[in-house]
């Protein structure tokens, strides 16, 4: 959880009435110190279980097989005799002495590892991790001692057997990054009782739509290499270090959602680097278009009144036959003229 810097939550509220929807996007930041503190407990738990998990593999290493270690030590001593540093007469006693201290060290390592496992079962994760590391340090010390006893370069066989432990342990200690569902911190930061973690609003974006309902989808990237620092809102890729920019993108995104609800084609969302979506000109100029529509409404009202006055002046109730027909034709012609005027503006 080294990269545990900041978590974000996006709260979306939609309220719709008639044909208008309002969308509010809040971007809040979690208290990273508190999350970090809690995260360390989770890390200890995760590591302790990782070391328990590899226990069968670790104990299957030749290091813990007394006979095999004996063989490796013998081989290393024979190599010392072959290069002339050890007298063949001393082989047996050297073997006995080196084996004796190696056996003693292995027992201590085994016990330490078992103690650490027991502490894990007792949920004393921090102490357990310390004990696991003690066992690792004991193995490293044994490696140094055997290397020294067997004149370093001559200890190849024994050292290779001991490396089995070191490699497995280092692998478990490094751990893989969590995927989203496996990350215990996701559960921690989203629990209701932990809502106070989200104490600061980083940004708030509001947007109104004019047609239909608005909708938004938030997608956390599942790629373990990047999800901690990336989330996507309907294809808008946002890096944690570009948060300020993201607040504007969210606004643009809300417009895109409206556009899609009206069946207007959007840019290809499958594109990985779809960072700045193109905004449809008709939607972008919506405010101007709205003003034009209001002007047209006023104009329409004015012509409508003129037409009604003209109809009343014709006194149609008192006309009949050819006279009535002529009056109606004149009203129709006048309406056609008004329509032509409205269309030309």
């Amino acid at each position: 959880m080294k990269q545990l810097i900041t978590f974000f939550i996006i709260v979306i509220s939609l309220s719709s009435f008639h044909s208008c929807a309002r969308m509010v996007v809040n971007v809040s930041t979690a208290d990273s110190d508190r999350v970090q503190e809690e995260g360390e407990k989770y890390i200890d738990r995760m590591k302790a279980y990782a070391f328990v998990e590899i226990k069968p593999l670790v104990f299957a290493c030749d290091l813990f097989d007394s006979d095999k270690m004996n063989t490796y030590i013998s081989k290393d001593i024979k190599e010392g005799i072959a290069v002339g540093t050890i007298a063949s007469d001393d082989e047996a006693i050297l073997k006995t002495n080196i084996k004796s201290f190696t056996d003693a060290a292995i027992k201590v390592i085994q016990n330490t590892y078992k103690q650490a496992t027991a502490l894990t079962e007792q949920k004393k994760y921090s102490e357990a991790v310390d004990r696991f590391w003690d066992s690792y340090n004991l193995v490293e010390q044994l490696k140094k001692d055997i290397k020294h006893e067997l004149d370093n370069s001559d200890a190849a066989n024994s050292i290779e057997a001991i490396e089995c432990f070191s490699v497995l342990y280092a692998e478990a200690a490094s751990g893989d990054r969590f995927n989203l569902l496996g990350d215990p911190m996701v559960s921690y930061i989203t629990k209701e009782e932990n809502l106070p973690l989200w104490e600061s609003t980083y940004n708030r974006t509001k947007s109104s739509t004019f047609f239909g309902n608005a909708d938004i989808a938030v997608v956390l990237q599942e790629d373990p290499e990047s999800y901690n620092n990336n989330y996507a809102i309907k294809g808008v890729r946002v890096d944690a270090d570009k948060l300020i920019q993201s607040s504007f993108d969210v606004l643009a995104q809300s417009i895109n959602v409206v556009a899609s609800s009206q069946g207007i084609a959007l840019p290809d969302k499958g594109e990985q680097n779809y960072f700045y979506p193109d905004v449809i000109p008709e939607i972008q100029n919506l405010a101007t278009e709205k003003n034009k529509l209001a002007d047209k409404r006023k104009e329409y009202e004015a012509y409508r009144k003129l037409l009604i006055v003209n109809i009343l002046n014709k006194n149609l109730d008192n006309k009949s036959g050819e006279e009535l027909k002529t009056a109606i034709d004149e009203i129709k012609a006048l309406w056609a003229t008004y329509k032509a005027k409205m269309a030309s503006n």
Binding site: V83, G84, T85, I86, A87, L94, I98, F101, D151
Partner: protein, 62 residues
């Protein structure tokens, strides 16, 4: 351990090494390395071609 690096020690037992060196009884040499676990020393004996590993029980001080 009885001896330290640089100490003068003598061989108390005839030793024959695979490189052909034969270390006679009482041959002096100086301690080059100490091996605690196996209670032995790496010694450069006078007249020898290379250093040799000798158990502590087969040495005495000069």
């Amino acid at each position: 351990m009885k001896y330290s690096i640089g100490d003068c020690v003598k061989n108390t037992r005839v030793k024959k090494y695979s490189n052909g060196d034969i270390i006679a009884l009482g041959t002096p040499g100086d301690v080059r390395k100490v091996y605690k676990a196996s209670k032995s020393y790496s010694i450069m004996f006078q007249g020898a071609q290379a250093v040799h590993r000798v158990l502590e029980k087969d040495l005495e001080a000069c």
